[in-house]
Symmetry: C2
Subunit: 463 residues, 2 copies
Amino acid sequence: MEPTSVKKLSRETNHFLDKKVRIEGWVRTLRVSKSFGFIEINDGTFFGNLQIVFDEGLDNFLDVAKLTISSAICVEGTLVESPRAKQPFELKAEKVEIVGLCAPDYPLQKKRHTFEFLRTIAHLRPRTNTFSAVFRVRSILAYAIHKFFQDKGFVYVHTPIITSSDCEGAGEMFRVSTLDLCNMAKDETGNVNFAEDFFGKETSLTVSGQLAVETYSMAFKNVYTFGPTFRAEKSNTPRHAAEFWMIEPEIAFADLSDDMHLAEEMIKYVINYVLENAPEEMAFFHNFIDKTLLERLENVVNSDFGQITYTEAVDILKKSGVPFEYAVDWGKDLQTEHERYLTEEVFKKPVFVTGYPKEIKAFYMRLNDDHKTVAAMDLLVPGVGEIIGGSQREERLDVLVKRMEELGLKTEDYWWYLDIRRYGGTKHAGFGLGFERVLMYLTGMTNIRDVISFPRTPKNAEF
Amino acid sequence: MEPTSVKKLSRETNHFLDKKVRIEGWVRTLRVSKSFGFIEINDGTFFGNLQIVFDEGLDNFLDVAKLTISSAICVEGTLVESPRAKQPFELKAEKVEIVGLCAPDYPLQKKRHTFEFLRTIAHLRPRTNTFSAVFRVRSILAYAIHKFFQDKGFVYVHTPIITSSDCEGAGEMFRVSTLDLCNMAKDETGNVNFAEDFFGKETSLTVSGQLAVETYSMAFKNVYTFGPTFRAEKSNTPRHAAEFWMIEPEIAFADLSDDMHLAEEMIKYVINYVLENAPEEMAFFHNFIDKTLLERLENVVNSDFGQITYTEAVDILKKSGVPFEYAVDWGKDLQTEHERYLTEEVFKKPVFVTGYPKEIKAFYMRLNDDHKTVAAMDLLVPGVGEIIGGSQREERLDVLVKRMEELGLKTEDYWWYLDIRRYGGTKHAGFGLGFERVLMYLTGMTNIRDVISFPRTPKNAEF
């Protein structure tokens, strides 16, 4: 008999009621009395479990009654209405096939476990309610992002992971090499001879695909990357991982205002998509992880995002009288406490901050006419602070070269990046969105280690 | 005035005819006479160009007449019917704004360039017809793969890129490290002290996400990965790159037959999706890259894929009388020439070969009852040979451990992989699909360097 799924039973219940069905899945709970019992089975296709009712009419009643948690079983029976179960239906078993009996030392027994403990069994934690919800929402969110951009005609570009250029000096990088560490190739001057390395030069893992994808925006107009990026920073915080995924759209014939419009549209789209396509998971997060979640997300979806300049923001923060831990001063970067004050207390909704001092932003951001600030934008959201950082790019070759020289960057290393200003360049803009940051925002999960399947952090690359 | 796109004009021509529109894009060709001229503009949203007609009525007629190839312009005017142009309409310009004049040393002038030369300007080549088509199809194909799996309820898993385990010893790996190469940390015995490295142990770039994603199939039943993978092999061939993307679905409660069914369904789906969503690009590939392309793809879509065992295949090849370069012998792997003979001459359609000798396949493949072969499958397609490799996985803990020990693998390094056999394991299967291989198959492009934006190969990590 062809199996069906708990998802189908849940979404098209009337079609299946009083019909014979087959379900394959894993035992989540089992209660048994002398002559009958109940199994909650989860088949992986749906957040909720399906209740199985069985009795001593089964050939193997005694074996079924002794099933251990997480055993794999196949059940055939009739779907019937049930006033008792959490769902309005249950499966009356006619046959229960025991496919894989779970060993009795299974570490995920019914009791509650801490997230810290569950990280040590990252290969098993998606079998729990919380992580089943996290990783299904992760999948749906990734798809929502692709769907948003593809429906708008954006071209998805796989920018390189291994790179010989260092975008914006954005942070510490991991070296990628096949050199023999025990017998290091050296050149005449005693330095490491990267000519001997696999790529014939020093290479690292990318910190951003932006510079590469900018070149593609000059061919396809609207493009985006979505791939893994890396930072070798020894930050052991709940918000930093050495390996994470990032989305970077880039739009040509577009300025900072178009960029903010795109960011707002995208954020609202993906929140709506996840709310529509993972209602059970989102209800779970709201009930068990963050009681303000749905209200917070609905506020985002229904707000017109605010907008303020950095200079105005500094004024407001200074006049607020709030005893911030970090002092506010024009020219200094905003800290999370400042960002949260602006979005949570002042605007009470998401807000774009624009026009940051050029000194605290990257070389490629477009210089404003005041020659002091750049056409940058950060999107701040309640509960988190910054969630998106973007800018209009400097398309004027002379201004860009001057800025790079001020910062001591070697322009010859960026020949191809400068080329796209020489050859039919036009105004363009883009932003970066940390995928895990958005996922945390959408689920209420507060540690990045709990939204990545097998997280990589300092001193940890287990599994 | 709000811009529109050449794609919209092409797909909804009647809606726009005789209306005023604005187009932003880049000059592909320009022909000019004393009092009027034609520009073919490409705006990146569509494979085809739009013809602009302009005359000396323009304020800046003399400047427009001198526009260089690839200059960025914005044009406003009326869309009118045109019997002359390739498309049945053209844009009668009322205003041409010159946004970015292309420098005269632009390396992509109208003459034909070799693919080899274009690789040296990988940042500009998407502006050519061929690479515009390649990279738009790449994007559409990537989306088709996500859509196929998401519509079937599969959960997308981002398996780690940085890994401390070596899947199947599949090939040479790149080391990922932050150790100081000039001043190498050594332990007491003089070996490299990886305890000092970022992750506290030796780590590499992944060669496959399979082992990790298998653990998730035991929670979600149907899962897939789609991400970059790496091989540090010094193969300078048209079919090998050091960095490429791979798709790896994994399905639980499923055997080899289910696996083949999924592979066949997926291949047909993505071909149909690309044919439907990139008709202009596919016609271009058919006309200019490979005259057999559309016939070949239609044959795949309309065939029931064949199936044959490895043992039968060896028999057929031996009896064929064909003077193969490599001898055929039971126990040896099939070479591309053998694979192509089977699919092109014998079956004349895609064919699955199953039941390979265990010695030439990976440790995790399920041992058949003959104890000599494993439940592996390779999908061979005309024109290429192998395009997919998959297997049913060994779910029997004792058989798996015995096989690992035979091969000298340390079972303690795979504790989490073995755990999923202990804790409610069930039969499961999956396959791997090289994304660029499929893209080459779909486009007729014959060098992997021409389907990757910025390819990484031995001694080459430019851009």
